[in-house]
């Protein structure tokens, strides 16, 4: 059995979604136009993931295995709606930016995947750490992807536009809106994601070789 620390840290590199698990790619591509979209989506997903892992694990002794999937969906959907309502009330700008991708967390395979593959087989403590690790890993991945695309696309980094937090890293000429518009368009998301997957695979191959030698 893994140590409790490694249940948490595995989500940060070894099993980091979307790169290692290659799950949850649809929102990854859609919301990473900016750093703000990236971390916002990551934070919302982390909340749902942690809560659903915790509750699925707590309900494990009473849920009959035959109806586990509907039970998971009810738990997940509840936390997604809570997230949606809270965001719409208290972070309206972020909520408008992420739009339909917040309710779509319900069908994010990372969450159902963790409920089925981990939380339904482990205790509440481990499940909570697993959810937290995977969630933070997902947030990091989306934030890096979002920063990269925003920086190359518009030369700016927005952290929280509701409070006007953000910097224009590369100044734009007057009247200029984009540096490299391709990066903030959907195809740019595929290219960036592909490049990041390549770098991550190269890095882990190198470390595997170093271990073998």
């Amino acid at each position: 059995m893994r140590s409790l620390t490694s249940e948490f840290t595995k989500g940060l590199w070894e099993q980091i979604p979307p790169f290692r698990l290659v799950l949850g790619l649809c929102p990854t591509l859609a919301v990473t136009k900016s750093l703000e979209g990236g971390w916002g989506m990551g934070a919302a997903t982390t909340f749902v993931l942690v809560m659903s892992n915790l509750f699925v694990s707590l309900l494990r002794p009473v849920i009959p295995p035959k109806v586990r999937v509907p039970a998971f969906i009810v738990v997940i959907a509840t936390f997604v709606v809570i997230t949606e309502l809270m965001m719409s009330a208290y972070t309206p700008v972020l909520s408008d930016m992420l739009g339909v991708f917040i309710p779509l967390i319900v069908v994010n395979c990372i969450i159902l995947g963790r409920a089925e593959a981990f939380a339904f087989k482990n205790g509440p403590g481990r499940s909570l750490l697993d959810g937290l690790g995977i969630g933070i890993g997902y947030t990091l991945a989306l934030s890096v992807l979002g920063s990269l695309r925003e920086l190359l696309g518009t030369g700016a980094l927005t952290v929280f536009s509701q409070a006007e937090l953000g910097v224009q890293v590369i100044p734009l000429a007057p009247g200029q809106e984009y540096l490299f518009k391709f990066m903030v368009d959907p195809p740019g998301a595929f290219v960036c994601l592909g490049a990041m997957l390549m770098l991550m695979n190269a890095a882990s191959q190198r470390s595997a070789k170093a271990k073998a030698a």
Binding site: L59, V62, I63, P64, P65, K66, V67, P70, A71, V74, V75, A77, T78, V81, I82, L85, M86, S88, A89, Y90, P92
Partner: protein
Amino acid sequence: MRDRIWFMVLVLGLVGGVAGLGLAAVRDLTFPVIEKRILDEKVKPTLETLFAPLGIDNDYIADRVVLDLGLDDWGRKIRLTVFVGRKGGAPAAVALQTAGGGYGGDIEVLTAFDIAGGKIIGVKTLAQKETKGLGARVSDDGEPFIKQFAGLAYEGGVKLRSADGEVDAISGATISSTGFTAAVDSAVRLLAERRAEILK
């Protein structure tokens, strides 16, 4: 026991029930905040311009009145939000949102009334799906058709000239003009019917 049908039904029912209760609590907590944000963003700027000439001094967003208009075909309650502008505590202006059938769908209109003067202060299109360049002109605040509503005496209803009224239709957009005028007219009727409730 975990394989029995009744147990599965019971567990799913309980999980669903608890989830429903939790969601109801969160909705009660967030609904006022979300509603206030939508009103502040969408309705407040329009009302500010419409109510400005009358020297309204209350917070008409907070003082809004919700009317019960009966039940719809599915038995759900139909509600209408009415904004009452007060001057020194006495109601001076009322604004309400109604809809009329246009050429491309419903035209949503906000009508503001000067209660003391018995006149319409002004009208504003909130949503429409009319033909561009013709019916869609109802969205343009500078359009002569829209401007003629300002200052119109509303007692007895508001009608197009073709129906013995005083409003000239937009030429080439009769259906849109009729729908728009019908929306204003239904606002007049609602105000007359529910006057006691609105101005209490």
